[in-house]
Symmetry: C2
Subunit: 221 residues, 2 copies
Amino acid sequence: MKRVADSTVRRLSLYLRYLEDFAASGSSTISSEELASRAGTTSAQVRKDLSVFGSFGKRGLGYDVAELTQKLREILGLEHEWRVVIVGAGKIGGALALYRGFRQRGFPVVAVYDSDPRKVGSMFESFVVRDIASLAADNRREPADIAILTVPAESAQEVLDQVVAAGVRAVLNFAPVQLHAPDHVTMKTVNMAMELEGLSFALKSLGNRESGSAHRRAKTG
Amino acid sequence: MKRVADSTVRRLSLYLRYLEDFAASGSSTISSEELASRAGTTSAQVRKDLSVFGSFGKRGLGYDVAELTQKLREILGLEHEWRVVIVGAGKIGGALALYRGFRQRGFPVVAVYDSDPRKVGSMFESFVVRDIASLAADNRREPADIAILTVPAESAQEVLDQVVAAGVRAVLNFAPVQLHAPDHVTMKTVNMAMELEGLSFALKSLGNRESGSAHRRAKTG
DNA sequence: ACATGTGAACTGCTTCACAGCG
DNA sequence: CGCTGTGAAGCAGTTCACATGT
């Protein structure tokens, strides 16, 4: 199949969320225009995105909510659960391990790993922290589909290598560095430092004219 | 000034991180080629990105690490700190409030807010959780530059509206919904559900051929 | 009549390739 | 001679506009 743009997949994920809301509200059909306004895009974009995978609408009518929901779930591969492991038992790893939304959306967290011997074996809510070195063996019994990396930037590449060697083929990285993985491994990076610096750039570019800026320029406030 | 592409700003942020590492390792000059390999891009891209803001290199030599670091900090608006408030005293908000990396990179968390009266007034590590309704007044005394939204999807738009009304002009949203803000407010969204679904799509597209897939198809494993 | 599905036009980011300069 | 800086070319994603089908 032809390569699908990343931006398209991201929007499909958004559409799915709104369809689920919409189904709850009772309506059985929805137009590309309505989906677009919810997802913050245009009706043409919605139709183009869907057209990559087929023709799901009825001309003059729109899309059947239940049917399109089901199609999107199929397209995104959400018909069964994907087993997630968290690697890095720190603050953020902890928050994610406890976050119920993942399981609700079909991504149950099945284990937590760390490379720090002092953490290994300790309890982490309902999880016993396992040694990252045992991931490969654990994976042979009960394969993990996705690894979430919440380790410090310094060790992120090393840990990624271990995760890849263990056979995991999808990684969500929270370390603020660009990691290098083999082609058969899919990686997404959430870089909060980068997002904040993007906001900094925007604030600075706008001239930061609001009254509050004074307290920074003149510390003698 | 001409509009700068979002992708450019994101890469500048990455370059800066590597320059900081590089400075620590002693070298005083760096080529676009070397920066590119670290940041996972091409030398031409590095030069194009920088050329948007000026000519910082020396032909035949490369870039002075200290000088380029300084320039990037200026460009990104990192010469002074930006005050951050976290709105939503739940699991993720908590992890972010405790995360030291923000302060280290110039984004000190100065307060935590929530709209749940049961949480307001309670301690959250070193923070007393404040009522979101008091944000506007607090802001008049000590303006927050950036709000990080870690509230449930259902209330995210409502909370965003309050944050905007309080005068905050930059928002980092962790709720998995598309939010609508006025033009003068800059928003970035980190949507973990979307990232995971992107990984799901990739795994599914690759056919998920590895041994582990069997245990899902045949529950009789 | 109405909303989809889609080729064509457009926009904007990336890559190329080389002139320019240290 | 080496590496930057940059127009020009190439490519990918978005928007337009209308033919198509119900």
